[in-house]
Structures are given as structure tokens and as C-alpha cells.
């Protein structure tokens, strides 16, 4: 028989609702009466019930499995990676320090330095952070001129990029959006750092000029046991390439671009603006 034909006054959909026990009692009884003289239909509906039972048998054991750690930590996560440590300290700094953001003009370096020195940002030693910035600059120089394959996963697949890099870095990795500063996300890639994986996000402006954000979570290891009161925000220059970098807890960040220092500072301010807005919605 054709299961899509309504059988007498009983619709195919109703037979499924009957199988799924979703009919009112009266209608259920009517269908049972109707089925009495239709053994083929009884057999068909019984096979549907067995399908349901079989599917439950097959997949219910998964409910008893131990949930992988990475899923538990993702379920618990509240704040994106770039805000994990910074947000609380920065919010406090903004209030207690009385420093206001200027979204239009960006921030002078002095303001950023003032903020950083009054937050809970982890201090870093100049030597190792400079090495970190150096690696970021090299990575920028190697990949940003690449016309054919500047990134491994492009921005059209941002979900997959985020999922992949988060998995490899062992921490949630969501690229900030920098359109307000004229940069659109092009994609990202995984790179070898000094001791483990490093994530590189690549952006470009309307003229195709590149900007990279380099994120490492190995800085804490480098710095372990070391206390240094140096300011957390740093700026360095290699030829025309400028690198703005800082360390926050286990993460080191470096923003590299062949642009002027003020633009780069504004991008850094924009990243911070995004993470403070995340913090304020919590």
C-alpha cells in the first residue's frame, strides 16, 4: 500500500501519532478499532515501534559515557578567550583609575600603559616577551605576503576556524572583529611556537594591507617563577613592521602590521573595547 494515502478517514500522519502515543484517548481507540481488520497495517506500525526501540537501544548507552573534558569546559565557559583574564582587571581599572575610553580617537600609548599598570595583567620579562614579539613579527613577515595561501582556514569558515584553533590551543579562540578599524578577518592558521602551538589570525584592510594577531599560551611557562614589574604593554619595530604586544595570564598577544603606530594602537584599543563590552554584559 501507499503510506501517503489517507486510509479512509484516518490520515497517515495520525497513524504515526498513534505509534508515538500522541493521540487523544478517543481517537486512539478509533484507530485501534480500525486496525482490528487490517493485519498489514498492524504489522507496519509495529515495525515502526521496533525502529524506535532499536534506535534507543543503539544510542542510549552514549548517555552513560563519560563526557570528554573539552566539552565540559566549553559548557562551563562564559567569556571568550581574549577576555578571560583581562576583563575583570580592566573593568576595575576603568573605574578606579577614572580613565575613559575614547572610541573615536583611540588611545594614546600612555593611557594604555597606565591601564595596564593598574590591572592584574601578569608582568613579563622584557627578554622573553621580546622573543615572543620577534616570533610574531617573523610569522607576519612569512605569511602576510602569501597571495595564494595566507591562511589555513578562511573567514568564511570562521566556526571551523574557531573550533579547530580552540581545540589545538586548549582554550577558546575567537578572533575579535576589527571592521570598525577597517580590518576584516581573512582567516587563521596554527603555527609552531617556542614550546607548543600558536594561533595566528590574519586581517586585511580595503587596500589589502595585512594585520596579524598572534596568540600564544606558552608565555606563562616561559615566565614561571619570574616576577617582573615591567609594563605589560609593549611596542617594537622591525623595519617598517610594527608590533604591539602584551601578556595576559597564560596568553601572549602580538598585533603586527606595516602601518603607523597610532593605527596599531587603535586596533589594540578596539580589542580591549570588545572585551570590556563582553565583561559589562555579564
Amino acid at each position: 500500500m501507499n503510506p501517503f494515502q489517507p486510509t479512509h478517514s484516518i490520515a497517515e500522519a495520525e497513524l504515526h501519532a498513534y505509534v508515538d502515543a500522541r493521540l487523544p484517548l478517543v481517537r486512539r481507540q478509533e484507530i485501534e478499532d480500525w486496525l482490528v481488520t487490517r493485519p498489514d497495517e498492524v504489522a507496519r506500525l509495529e515495525s515502526y515501534r521496533l525502529q524506535k526501540r532499536g534506535l534507543r537501544e543503539m544510542f542510549d548507552p552514549i548517555l552513560q559515557e563519560q563526557v570528554p573534558h573539552r566539552l565540559l569546559s566549553t559548557a562551563r565557559r562564559r567569556v571568550p578567550w581574549y577576555a578571560q583574564r583581562l576583563a575583570a582587571g580592566l573593568a576595575v581599572a576603568l573605574i578606579s583609575g577614572g580613565i575613559g575610553w575614547s572610541l573615536h580617537g583611540g588611545l594614546p600609548m600612555e593611557s594604555l600603559a597606565a591601564i595596564s599598570s593598574s590591572t592584574s595583567l601578569a608582568p613579563i620579562s622584557l627578554a622573553s616577551a621580546a622573543g615572543f614579539a620577534q616570533r610574531a613579527a617573523i610569522a607576519h613577515a612569512v605569511y602576510s605576503p602569501d597571495q595564494r595561501r595566507p591562511v589555513e582556514v578562511d573567514a568564511a569558515h570562521e566556526d571551523q576556524l574557531v573550533s579547530w584553533l580552540s581545540k589545538r590551543m586548549g582554550a577558546p579562540m575567537k578572533p575579535p572583529h576589527l571592521q570598525t578599524e577597517g580590518y576584516s578577518l581573512e582567516g587563521g592558521r596554527l603555527l609552531p611556537g617556542g614550546q607548543g602551538p600558536v594561533a595566528q589570525f590574519m586581517y586585511q584592510d580595503a587596500e589589502g594591507r595585512k594585520l596579524t594577531l598572534y596568540v600564544s599560551n606558552e608565555v606563562a611557562d616561559v615566565e614561571s617563577g619570574e616576577k617582573n614589574s615591567a609594563a605589560a604593554f609593549k611596542f617594537t619595530q622591525q623595519g617598517s613592521l610594527k608590533v604591539f604586544y602584551w601578556v595576559d595570564g597564560p596568553f601572549g598577544y602580538a598585533i603586527s602590521a606595516d602601518t603607523d603606530r597610532d593605527s596599531l594602537t587603535r586596533v589594540a584599543a578596539e580589542v580591549h573595547r570588545q572585551l570590556t563590552s563582553v565583561a559589562s554584559t555579564k
Partner: protein, 167 residues
């Protein structure tokens, strides 16, 4: 107000559905992870979510459809840390169940989704329509076609007999 603890309680259910949708454990758990991340990204909406499970399943469905349409980037293949793990329980007298699995995997994804949401989550047809963003009539026709196709795939063999033993 929904909170983190509630999100955690749904993880096993999300894993079950994801495993039934995807073909292996890694892909399924990646799908769950993406779903959780998306849920956090939209945490501002939680207050308006009437049914957390349905909302999460809707997110998962959208992500899954998205991946299905664009199989170009296989992030799992890039990760060499996670070995392949058998999907279904293989012990004892589960032969009929495994046959059901291979039949299930021969269904079009649209039919498979509806069948699974009915069987595993016991969702109302209207809830499924909402989660999959399709009319309820489409839910019913996919359910009907899916069940009939599954029956046809398994009919005539001894599998039907074995399934009765499972009962």
C-alpha cells in the same frame, strides 16, 4: 533564567543526538562543542529561550546542515591526537541493532533527523518543525517516508525477526 549548570545537564543528550547524526565520535563531539560555543555566543538570548533542549538542538541542526553543505574543511583530519573510536556498542546480541544502524545511515539526512528527534528525544511534531525550521506537514511526510524506507531496507531479511527478539 537558564544557566551554566543547565547547559551542562544537556551535554549527554546533545552527544547522543550528535553521535546518531554524525558517523564517528570525533565528528560528533566536535559538533557538540561547536553547539556549546554557539550557545555561549548567544547567551544574551537565554532569557527568552523557553526550552533549552529544543534551542540547543536547533543550533546543532543548523551547524550540522552547514557542515553538510560545505564539506571542504575537515578540521578533524588535522588533529592526530584523537583516535577513531567505534560508534555503536558491539557486545552480545546487538546484531539486529547494528543492522538498524546501517539502514539508518542510508536514509537522507532530512528523514534521519526527524526519525531521531522522535525516537531519541521524544519531541512533539510541532517542536521538531520549529527546531528544523520546516512546516509540520513536512515533518510528518519526512517521518512517514523515513520510517517506511527504514522498514523497506530491513524487510525480508532475518533482521526483522532479530529485532523482535530485542523487544
Amino acid at each position: 533564567m537558564l544557566d551554566e549548570q543547565q547547559l551542562l545537564t544537556w551535554v549527554p543528550r546533545l552527544r547522543r543526538y550528535a553521535r546518531a547524526l554524525a558517523y564517528n565520535r570525533d565528528d560528533a563531539d566536535d559538533l557538540v562543542q561547536d553547539t556549546l560555543e554557539r550557545a555561549w555566543a548567544k547567551a544574551g538570548l537565554w532569557q527568552g529561550v523557553a526550552n533549552m533542549r529544543n534551542w540547543l538542538l536547533m543550533i546543532m541542526h543548523n551547524l550540522h546542515v552547514d557542515r553538510h553543505r560545505r564539506p571542504g574543511v575537515q578540521t578533524v583530519d588535522m588533529d592526530d591526537e584523537t583516535p577513531e573510536v567505534p560508534v555503536a556498542p558491539t557486545q552480545g546480541d546487538r546484531l539486529a541493532v547494528r543492522d538498524l544502524e546501517s539502514a539508518l545511515n542510508m536514509l537522507p539526512i532530512e528523514q534521519k533527523e526527524v526519525l531521531l528527534l522522535v525516537a531519541l528525544e521524544d519531541m512533539a511534531y510541532a517542536e521538531i518543525a520549529h527546531a528544523l525550521s520546516i512546516p509540520i506537514g513536512t515533518v510528518m511526510s519526512r517521518l512517514s517516508r523515513g520510517r517506511e524506507r527504514l522498514r523497506a531496507l530491513m524487510e525480508g531479511s532475518e533482521i526483522t525477526q532479530r529485532l523482535k527478539v530485542v523487544k
